[in-house]
Amino acid sequence: MNFTRRSVTAGLSMGLAMPALLRHARGQSAPMKIGMVLPVTGPAADSGKYALTGAKLALDRVNKGGGVLSRQAELVTEDDQTTNPGAVLAFSKLAAQSDIVAFLGSIRSTQNHAMAPDIVKTAKPVCFGGTDPALTKLGNPWLFRFRPNDTYSGRVIASYGVETLGKKNWAIIHSTDAFGTGGAKALTESLGKAGATIALDQGYPNQSQDFTPVVLAIKSSGADVIGSYFTFDNDLAIFARQLRQLGVTTPWVGSPSIAVSGAVKLAGPALFGTYGVADFAEDASAESKEFAKLYRAVSSVPPDNYSSWTYDAIGVLCAAIAKAGETDPDKIRSAILATRGYKGAEGEYNFDQFGDGLHGYNIVRNEKGAIVFDKHIEFTD
């Protein structure tokens, strides 16, 4: 074998360049990792299962379409145990993995509040589903909401109850967590503007086993309509049953939890005839119908907002990464904020400067256990 100056130089150059080339090639073929904090254990474990199904459906769709930046997208999940400390621990485990480009946070506002300081430190986009309006006003630039916040739900509940149902004396029942208190505050403000009165503002602790005192307070308050913000399905179902057993037939307009599949199944006839605001309604659009079809093919449970928000979050996030052209967090952030007119299962995403993607709600009605779409109310202000 003859060694010439040219062949030795070429060989050395190849040898020096090869590790970098291999690293680059591996980076191109390595999966695009998205972290996901979800409840696998604890009282909300069922909603975690639905959320994961929604996210996987979106990932399948993205990957079948060629992936993101020519890479297959992949989920890395951690159990938040349905607790705030669990959520913080789960997020910190995911944040320690430097190859994760973005995250899906929680549908529970209180857990997103708990994770928020670590999210700032991690400085990567986190898509979440909690509806406490304060979450996108924390000054945290990495939070992006994929459900309408409770200023909208409060306005829609108040508008429907006062204008459509003609009820002006309200009982507000809410969880005492961040979601419940935030929602109740938003509803109270909206009712004030609509000229309605608050006969009862009653908080309750999550995982209550008995709502008799709450129901009796509603009866004695003289309220002619109930507005509610329940966090957990089982609490809502126990309340609904006791409400009907103790003879309260007052109309009831609830936050999205009143129309989720878990609550509808547990409460049964006790929720018949109730109204709810729902970010996901199967018949609201062609996109929601398409999502419902995909979801029903892999699940025996009807689709609801637990799965629709993660489906949309993965869709918007992957589109934003593709638009950014790279995985630099700042560029992904800008691309998410620039998202306009993205038609998802929950509605059309138009992100504002705070990171809120949706600005309206559907009104649905429980007709003998079936959740029926009534109308969509969108806000532009």
Binding site: P39, V40, T41, G42, P43, A45, D46, G48, K49, T176, Q202, G203, Y204, P205, Q207, S208, Q209, D210, T212, P213, V214, L216, A217, S220, D233, N234, A237, I238, Q245, L246, G247, G262, K265, L266, G268, V301
Partner: protein, 291 residues
Amino acid sequence: MDLVLQLLFTGLGIGAIYALVALGFVLIFRATNVVNFAQGEFSMVAAYLMVVFAVDLGWPYWLSFLLAIGGMALLGAIFNLGVYYPLRNRTFLPVIISTIGASIFLANTVLALYGPQPQVLPGWFDTPGVQFGPVYLDSQYLLIIAVTIALVAFQYWFFEHTLLGKKLQATSQDKEMAALLGIPVARMIMITFVYSAVLGGIAGILVAPILFVSIQMGSTIALKAFAATIIGGFGDVAGAIIGGLALGVIETFGAAYISVPYKDAFAFLVLILFLAFRPRGLFGERVAEKA
């Protein structure tokens, strides 16, 4: 007055659930001197067994109940052999940690086998309740109160008027002396675990139509039942019953007349007061004598 009666009925119904689970705590404590932190999970497992038999398989309710109770007896025996027996000669701490581990194991096993979705278990009666004057009597709460009374009566008769009951009492009071008198101590402890698992199971099956069937249902009830046991006096059967009923009534009235959000705080405030001023509980003298 109507409000008071309604609250009293509901408080007693909830208190009866705490009392049933607290009874299981007390029996095992008396027999082994340790607290079984998996007592709440016994309730959860029994409720899931009922869902499998009565709902999924569609078998008759009475047959499902008998099978679920049989399953709980078996679980109690396995629990004794696997969780308590290997550590019986150690101090109380390893046994307590072992029961905590068992509770986590049971909860996660059911989660893995059945999934996270809460389930609906129908009640014993087709009628959800009856209106008795101004008070609505939930049929399931009526059943819970009736079963609690029946079990307390049975327990009194069993422990005071049967040879086996007296052997169990002797074992709980002094294991060494009981062994010297020819009482098979290991078998007595086995029977105690089996009976406690059955008691926990009955509580779970009774409460499931009200609170639904979920992985965490056991821990929710057990926490209050544990508080009831301390209030009543650890190791005392009457104390567990009265402590449970008192706790149910206190938290219901506290919620109605003071604050719903602080409902749980009333129960634990009472617990703290007892721990501070009467740590032996209402009927705790017998434990002191035993020590």
